[in-house]
Symmetry: D2
Subunit: 460 residues, 4 copies
Amino acid sequence: MKSSWRENCGVFGIWKVPEAAHLNYLGLFALQHRGQEGAGIVSGTHESFWGRRSSGLVSQVFDREALNQLQGETAIGHVRYSTVGNQADKNLQPLWVQGEWGELAVAHNGTLTNAQELRLELESQGSVFQSSVDTEVILHLFARTKGSFRERIDATLSRVAGAFSLLILYRDSKELRLAAIKDPFGFRPLCVGRLQEGYAIGSESCAFDLVGASWEAELEAGEVYEFHSKGVDRWKLNSKAPRTAPCVFEWIYFSRPDSNSFGRSVYEFRKQTGALLAERDQRASLRADLVMGVPDSGIPAAIGYSQQSGLPFEMGLIRNHYIGRTFIEPHQSIRDFRVKIKQNPLPKSLEGKRIVVVDDSIVRGTTSRKINMLLREAGAREIHLRIAAPPTISPCYYGIDTPTENELIASKKSIEEIRDFIFADSLEYLSLEDLRQLTQGASVCHACFSKDYPSGIPKL
Amino acid sequence: MKSSWRENCGVFGIWKVPEAAHLNYLGLFALQHRGQEGAGIVSGTHESFWGRRSSGLVSQVFDREALNQLQGETAIGHVRYSTVGNQADKNLQPLWVQGEWGELAVAHNGTLTNAQELRLELESQGSVFQSSVDTEVILHLFARTKGSFRERIDATLSRVAGAFSLLILYRDSKELRLAAIKDPFGFRPLCVGRLQEGYAIGSESCAFDLVGASWEAELEAGEVYEFHSKGVDRWKLNSKAPRTAPCVFEWIYFSRPDSNSFGRSVYEFRKQTGALLAERDQRASLRADLVMGVPDSGIPAAIGYSQQSGLPFEMGLIRNHYIGRTFIEPHQSIRDFRVKIKQNPLPKSLEGKRIVVVDDSIVRGTTSRKINMLLREAGAREIHLRIAAPPTISPCYYGIDTPTENELIASKKSIEEIRDFIFADSLEYLSLEDLRQLTQGASVCHACFSKDYPSGIPKL
Amino acid sequence: MKSSWRENCGVFGIWKVPEAAHLNYLGLFALQHRGQEGAGIVSGTHESFWGRRSSGLVSQVFDREALNQLQGETAIGHVRYSTVGNQADKNLQPLWVQGEWGELAVAHNGTLTNAQELRLELESQGSVFQSSVDTEVILHLFARTKGSFRERIDATLSRVAGAFSLLILYRDSKELRLAAIKDPFGFRPLCVGRLQEGYAIGSESCAFDLVGASWEAELEAGEVYEFHSKGVDRWKLNSKAPRTAPCVFEWIYFSRPDSNSFGRSVYEFRKQTGALLAERDQRASLRADLVMGVPDSGIPAAIGYSQQSGLPFEMGLIRNHYIGRTFIEPHQSIRDFRVKIKQNPLPKSLEGKRIVVVDDSIVRGTTSRKINMLLREAGAREIHLRIAAPPTISPCYYGIDTPTENELIASKKSIEEIRDFIFADSLEYLSLEDLRQLTQGASVCHACFSKDYPSGIPKL
Amino acid sequence: MKSSWRENCGVFGIWKVPEAAHLNYLGLFALQHRGQEGAGIVSGTHESFWGRRSSGLVSQVFDREALNQLQGETAIGHVRYSTVGNQADKNLQPLWVQGEWGELAVAHNGTLTNAQELRLELESQGSVFQSSVDTEVILHLFARTKGSFRERIDATLSRVAGAFSLLILYRDSKELRLAAIKDPFGFRPLCVGRLQEGYAIGSESCAFDLVGASWEAELEAGEVYEFHSKGVDRWKLNSKAPRTAPCVFEWIYFSRPDSNSFGRSVYEFRKQTGALLAERDQRASLRADLVMGVPDSGIPAAIGYSQQSGLPFEMGLIRNHYIGRTFIEPHQSIRDFRVKIKQNPLPKSLEGKRIVVVDDSIVRGTTSRKINMLLREAGAREIHLRIAAPPTISPCYYGIDTPTENELIASKKSIEEIRDFIFADSLEYLSLEDLRQLTQGASVCHACFSKDYPSGIPKL
């Protein structure tokens, strides 16, 4: 249960399907886990765009009347968790500009590492910025390019560094175009599916299942799908990267287990992390009575652990399904209220037991500490915490909202010190070597575990 | 995943704890699964009552301001799913009346089987009914009694038949009293816990965990806890029942797995149902590749099945956590939309597999049919559906909102016909004998499986 | 501008017109000035009633969906300002009860002076009260009667004393009936109009204008219009009053100027009060430069004053039209904020002027004091306040929410002392003799000016 | 009662007063009549800006929590009725941009006549526009200037033509500045007042009354008040206009009667228009029984007419004060519903009378026609409509949302034809000559009556 490791965004788009905005809304709903702060959809024809963006969950932002106003058979949408920019409504996406030339809307998942330099440069040339999101530089750069849509996209994106899975909706007086673009490193997932006579594009395949689209392909790093009136063109961005770098944390934590991200089943990947952890414990002859996962992200790894080790899988903690975003605490303090409002231990099953608890990561350590205390109060005799990832020692600059390095407990404390702080009897992480084994030698981004940043880190 | 088997209500009360209404709100929040239609709290001192009831989820009905207006250190609350009475606001509980003599508020979980006769009788004596809920007869009967609070409760409840776990808050000009009462059959759960210098009372123990109360006791059938200014009196209702009849469906479906209901861990009970199903399949040499549960209520039984059979437990279906009560469907039909908006299969894990699917019951069969179709589309080769309860052949008259007998698929079709209808390769239920074994000979209510109604059925 | 003299209620009903609830909503909207705290409509056929009641303005309580759920061609509605009972939702009207015999809904404008005695008596017979409004005794009394609808109404209303303009909607399994009833004194207005093939009934004729009904008659004191499937019966209540007593304050303040209440144009009545005040000032040779009214109720009297005296009528104060019910004050105090948020003086027109200000009454004196200060700051040289009614020295017990006698400034202070308190240069009221002249000898209720209570005052 | 002649905007600002956002909210509330579509406030210190903009009335857009988040002692705000740009939220003001250099927020009342040309030019230089409001060009122009704040404002505003009363809030890392600016023609009102140790600036003086500010000055045409940490500088824009051109329609219709706009009492101006109309009727020996105004804007002119002519002033129409923005019409049509929901005639006072009705203008003629029909139904024998302005024959390009010339009835029909269309017995307008007499030879803008556009009309 992550308390401060948050995906920045999810994007979803529809090309040439009736009720595009409505389907886009469903797609965003399926991607709600990627951002709960705000949502937006811009729909369009070659004659006009329509849009709505607001703070709140997808189901709060849109009602039937709002969706009906978003006309056309094409739309792009966005769910947001802020990585860059504060929470003001002006930072909601899709960003949307208009001019004599037409209209442009952009939905972005990722983070640009040179946005600040570009912003200063553009400001010195007279551009004004109406939001504090990095994505806005893309609009300004695009506006200063010439040529065909493809040339302008290439010219624009050759300037930006970092992570970007983008949906760009563009119209001039003659035509409507939609481009789905993944940066040359391929940091963030982006998939294409077929839907009726048109297409769906989205951060994760689970969104296709809900709208009834059939999965077609994960975009390659640097690839562009350009949808236009005559069909679809696939091409590669001019700018190249030295290697691919899909975010390994999508598999570990962000993507929904029912998604297929970067070509792998997220659920299966997580089960394999659990199996690796179990193998090591078997080698170490760990004696335990049961294995449980911290809901929800730790569950698949716990299942994998159970299948590998033969240790019985148990639920251990029950998640409360009715939590809204705001919850009224009494004035009197209730111990561990914020953890308890989300989940509750199963006392009978834990009493007197030596339990293996599987979680996906430890950020500051405070939540793990509270969960372990709850489990001990519920009767757990021993707690062996297993983390289905290596220690997170460094922030992400490619699209995830992480604490600063200083706040990451693993950047300052040894594993033994962490174990002591969180009241665990033992603590094990996956190693970077395990991760390499799991990713089968693929070139991935694991900078948060290794400080090996494929695209550098922001200077400003 | 039940589509039409709904608990009617949950009750929660606080006796003599500061911020009683606020703690009551948390207690109701933990009982939200027992009723999502409306919620209410009445708080009180010996001088006044304060109340709020409204349609909606607990978190929608109450905000900080509303809670602050509910004064005093004592409160009773209710979450509602209608069994009797339509959905009008006038049917929300706690019911609350006032007179020269003081005030009375009642929160009820259960159904009275002779409410209609009593209503006619009371109307013939001049009583007017302002709601259509059965609970209202209790107020009218109470108003016509004389004597001490205990005598009046005994006189009142000797008239009513059926299921009632009640919280009654009463004040006259001198004193405030709270009674927690379970009917002589003990149909519905009701527990007492200690909280600070006072008490918490609630339908399920999971609510105690959230407010920090320590579990003390499940009320016995026919027992009353009467809280007053000088302490607590425990006594038994005058009216007696020939046997106890705790609802076995609380264990099977209604109670949260982290609750201890009728003296048993709900989670452990469910695991045992799964184990029994597995034993039978082992005897029959069923060959399968994995076992999964239908979220959420089928999961513990699936875990029990896995542990007994050695078959790997897998997630199979991923539940969507962001569903609100209203969801906007597009005009174009999306196949199985209402099932898909709630859960999505894990394709990779199911592909080509022979899967055992564990669910808690089949009501009309339509939902099971759709889930099985989703699983087959995701690649399942064989589906062996196992129901962790006997076939439901008859409605509940003791507090659960069930379809009529005619709508229950098992009342009309053979198991083989049901199997055929829901597209399963095989279908097995628990037998009544299995249930007896699980309940260890205790006298329980299993009328929905057996038509053996301990307290008769309504005449009118 | 009254700060604490509030009409309790308005009632409106529709008999046999399609979209009855919708038309009822419009009628209540036109009567919104009679009660802004809450509103409700119960519609019905001989088979069922439908209802909605909630706190808030009419336009907030009902939306299209809510109106669509209120079926049938007959409805009764209510806007409420509490005279009796606190502001809880349970006190909203129409009250609505149901039984084996059918359903009954009641909307009441007025106050029953013996409600408390009746309540005690009914409670001693076993009745329970779910609200704290006096109207509820009518339901309980009715439930204990036998015979025809007319006999039951007569039997019920022979028991109650005080003011009641009632709409009673009743159905048994065979028939739907609607009774419009005015108490034998005829305290509160109630009119009947024709609308399409059916009828509209309402507290004031202005509501007929909006729905397009044509005025037919003001009910006589003690009269009943009984609408049923075969037509309309008009009859008189058995209980008689020694005299009629229409509330003179309806003409002075409550009714809308565009209404015709108790057979007189409210606007014309108010103009005549102003003319009488002017005549007296003419006899006293008052020298002034202009006359203005305190918006909105003082305006017609000021126009009458102007026409009689020849003194120019000016606006003087501009009313702010965008005030909602809640307004956020800054932490820093703004002097006279609550008066200023409602109206603002016209400085140029007042500067150096001797002004006659006409208002309808002085309650506590604090608002008049603040308005006079605002006018003086805006430059008024002299302020001659004229009150278009006699001094209010005693509370109303017949349907108006007034301060206690002790709070009424005219009950404790002489006119000279009031003049001094409110910073006026002179102060004149209408005399009781003036009022008699205006009402042309008709038998009216002027108890708030004279303590002559036609129906006594409550004992309890 | 105008149905389609709408002020575009109102602006209000606070400089260096505690709770600036809260006071700004009150100021905007007093200016609500200038724009009911949306509202916004941006507050600031030299370190940060905070903002909130949303659709709806001022009282809907802001609650206490929202105001508390707008920190600092300085703020600018805006109420909007769209003249340029559609109703999307992205068009709400204050516009607000930020950069490495600091932040800039702009609130604008008026319309720029060369915005489209400037937009094309800026776009050709790489600027991107995120709204469709003309005001946005000011931000882009400003961003491309260099020098001191004053130099940048001068450079920016020397490029724009048309009407602009502006509030510009600017901060760099060192200082916060607020400029209040009126265009060289002085089309729209803008006033400065003193408030505590600081200042209030607003479109109309009525807003000062509410917040307790004392009126200091109307800005001169082309004048700038620049507030900064060391005090206030007053200076004139470099760009000059050939003459001043205050909008005469502010006096006739837009400004609140309790405001002092362009140095004149709005209420007194309106009375004078009525007096002129009366003089003409006296010369023509018109015989009538009473004079009334169409609420609210026709009332002061009717009072002036009454005082000049000696004809009694009567209310005639009663305005409904509880109208919200949306109103649910029944499916059955109610004749003249939209007029009746707003106002209702006073039948008794009109019956058999020859009435002079004073209104401020006729736009399409349809509303006048309906009002006249209502008055006739209420019994009026003759209707002599007097318009307190010349015929409106041409659209406004300087800040008012008017129909196109083609929709203006006076651009196509003769006065006699209009009279016939609206069912009046006679119809008279003010003449341009009357207007000149009223404005005492001042150089004003009366282009909507004369097509004499002081600053030209937009080319694009």
